[in-house]
Amino acid sequence: MRVGLFITCLSDVFYPEVGTSMVRVLRRLGAEIDFPEGQTCCGQPAFNSGYQQEAKRAARQMIQTFEGFEAVVTPSGSCAAMVRHYYPALFSGEAEWERRAEQFASRCFEFSEFMVKNWGDRHLPVKMDGTATYHHSCHMYRMLDLSDPPIRLLSQVEGLTLKELPYHQDCCGFGGTFAVKMADISTAMADEKVDHVCSTGADYLIGSDMSCLMHLGGRIRRKGHPVEVLHVAQVLDRGWMS
């Protein structure tokens, strides 16, 4: 199977290690992967701010870039949700593009989802010591209904104690431009989340969206808490025993 890597603009620029981790994990499992360089951004910042025309321009670019791959995998629940949930709607009324958007939507998967879908019954040889808690990002949890796959992967990790995050269904306050437009509210939301994270005594806060983690991690760092922020792919990569 030829898998297209959809790395997301945020990971590409700020968190390349999430992408490289994903590459290594998928390769260890035998996937043949490629990173088509035509990709830029899924268009979410524009779309969520009301700029549909600009979002469409990004979407067309992405659709073209990933045509021809049997599957596309991304380390972001919210970018996957954008493709699956909003791409087809964005082009409604433009038959040709709508069809292509639907095609893409049906082949685009979030990382944990893709892992469980393809290698769900395989035991992963991963070890990592410490206590962790998992942050369910809203779009992955609600729009894609993907709460189990990351937990399933993480609970396999030897040595890792997974604590449930209190109020796990509550938004962390990132929300794209919301984090900047409504910075006070956004920060107050982060503070509640960070309090809950700390209450679990976790060494690691793990998630599937670097955007939420950038926001939470930035707040954690500012407040000086000793919690490390990691993507699921990073955990699997770091702890992989060869």
């Binding site: 790395i7 603009c9 990971s11 590409d12 620029v13 700020f14 968190y15 390349p16 290690e17 992408g19 490289t20 590459v23 043949e32 992967i33 490629d34 990173f35 360089e37 990709q39 830029t40 951004c41 910042p45 524009a46 969520n48 701010s49 009301g50 700029y51 600009e54 321009r57 990004a58 670019q61 809203c138 779009h139 609600r142 269904q169 509550d170 938004c171 306050g173 990132f174 929300g175 794209g176 919301f178 900047v180 437009k181 409504m182 910075a183 006070d184 509210i185 956004s186 920060t187 107050a188 939301m189 982060a190 509640e192 950038m214 926001h215 991690g217 930035g218 707040r219 760092r221 500012r222």
Partner: protein, 473 residues
């Protein structure tokens, strides 16, 4: 404009709320209680999703055939001896009500909670006309004494503590009352009893009108709706034009969803159904019943992307799960309806002008959509409103320019990479330890409270070119 409960700009209202520690604690506590209750109630129902779908189907059907059901409802109310008035605008509502009051030479009115009358600011108008108005719902009474607007559609005084209530009541009583719940509620009850007996007119809202029989259905926990509709000689019910249920069997399901979603109760303490004024054989009830059916911007949603907003049964479940409401409370929203439903409804009823910020007062987490018992896609409507704002050029030129640039770059990977590289280089010059602690321009609001990572020295795409792509060769 009638919905504007506050004249302060949105950012100021938010600031005020964020500084009010008591408010924020009270909101959190109430939210936790209500949504916990709702979750339990929903799980008692078995397949909650199936119930939601049924409720949604009923609402959708009703709204699609609204003209038919309004017609049927009107006929039934009139057959039962009631008088139906249609009010297109808030002014029409005021005119209808003041005409009745004048005709009855009424001096005093008791009211039972009605969001629509908040919508048209009825209390103020009546008081200006020299009529004494008393809210009979305890929470409404409290906000009325404080000369404020409700901050939640189900629990209007969520933001007031016992001491504040004691102070308000003491002023009213003319003597010092201690901040003890039983004393305060006794005071309110005694005061209201007297008002009920004196009132010439009772004004209520209406949770649902049943089209097949012309009945008005009111739910309450204090029994005040019942007193308001029984004791005064004239009863005026003010209802939104969308609040109909075709049949009693539909009402059954809608009530089931309403009470559970609102407070987690299987049923409220009082469910009052009124069909027509007092008949000869009746022991009590008003001599006259007027039903005012209010449009006030609602019909403009029919046939548009926003039609499903008319499905709303005003349960407040979306408010109770909203993380933004949790931080800022209801008054910050400025309109009569707070929380996600308010952020959607207020700009739809009033126009985006003056309400530009509301559609952005959401992180788009979707908790509201998930909670809504009639499956209104609230967060998608917020997106639709943002789209409309851009189309109507209500956003700033700087933002428009930025997104124009975004569109340009999104189509050109080379440009995207070059931009990221130069931005990264710049950021790394000022970053300490790989993080920015102070930023400028649009980055400033972020870095005021959160560290911001400087872009990595080697982006993923560079890594892929240099090392990553090789393994597959």
């Amino acid at each position: 404009m009638s919905l504007g409960a506050s004249t302060l700009p949105f950012t100021k209202r938010v600031e005020q709320a964020m500084e009010d520690d008591f408010l924020r604690q009270a909101v959190r506590r109430t939210q936790d209680k209500l949504r916990g209750g709702k979750e339990r109630a929903a799980s008692d129902m078995g397949d909650w999703e199936a119930w939601r779908k049924r409720a949604e189907a009923i609402r959708q059907h009703t709204i699609q055939h609204l003209d038919t059901y309004l017609d049927q409802f009107t006929t039934q109310v009139e057959e039962a001896g009631g008088v139906v008035h249609f009010a297109d605008t808030s002014q029409d509502v005021i005119d209808v009500v003041t005409d009745i009051i004048r005709a009855k030479k009424a001096r005093s009115v008791v009211k039972s909670k009605s969001m629509v009358s908040e919508e048209v600011d009825l209390n103020r108008v009546l008081e200006d006309a020299g009529v004494e108005v008393v809210e009979s719902d305890l929470g409404e009474y409290i906000v009325q004494l404080a000369k404020e607007a409700p901050s939640h559609i189900i629990i209007p005084a969520i933001h007031k503590n016992r001491d504040q209530v004691a102070e308000l009541f003491s002023k009213e009583a003319g003597e010092k009352l201690p901040p003890e719940t039983h004393i305060l509620t006794r005071f309110a009850r005694e005061r209201m009893r007297q008002k009920f007996l004196e009132a010439d007119i009772g004004i209520t809202g209406c949770n649902f009108g049943v089209a097949e029989s012309g009945a008005l259905v009111l739910v309450s926990n204090e029994g005040n709706a019942r007193l308001t509709t029984t004791l005064p000689r004239t009863h005026i019910a003010v209802m939104g034009m969308e609040r109909l249920a075709p049949r009693w069997t539909d009402l059954d399901i809608l009530l089931t969803m309403l009470t559970r979603s609102a407070t987690g109760q299987a049923i409220t303490s009082y469910v009052t159904a009124i069909t027509g004024p007092r008949r000869q054989e009746d022991g009590d009830g008003p001599e006259e019943l007027h039903v005012v059916i209010v449009d006030n911007g609602r019909s403009s949603m029919l046939g548009t992307d926003y039609q499903s907003v008319l499905n709303c049964i005003r349960c407040g479940a979306c408010i109770n799960v909203c993380p933004v409401y949790r931080q800022i409370g209801g008054h910050a929203y400025g309109g009569v309806y707070p929380g996600p439903i308010g952020a959607v409804l207020t700009p739809l009823l009033e126009g985006l002008d003056g309400w530009q910020e509301l559609p952005y007062a959401s992180s788009l987490c979707g908790a509201c959509t998930e909670a809504c018992p009639v499956r209104i896609p609230l967060h998608d409507h917020l997106l639709d409103l943002r789209r409309d704002e851009v189309a109507q050029k209500e956003t700033s030129w700087a933002e428009r320019l930025a997104f124009k640039g975004f569109g340009l770059v999104a189509e050109r990977p080379g440009l995207f990479e070059a931009g990221a590289r130069s931005g990264g280089w710049l950021a790394r010059q000022v970053a300490e330890d790989g993080y920015l602690q102070t930023g400028w321009g649009p980055l400033k609001p972020w870095t005021d409270t959160r560290d911001f990572p400087a872009p990595a020295r080697q982006s993923f795409r560079q890594w892929w070119r240099e090392e990553g792509g090789k393994a597959d060769e």
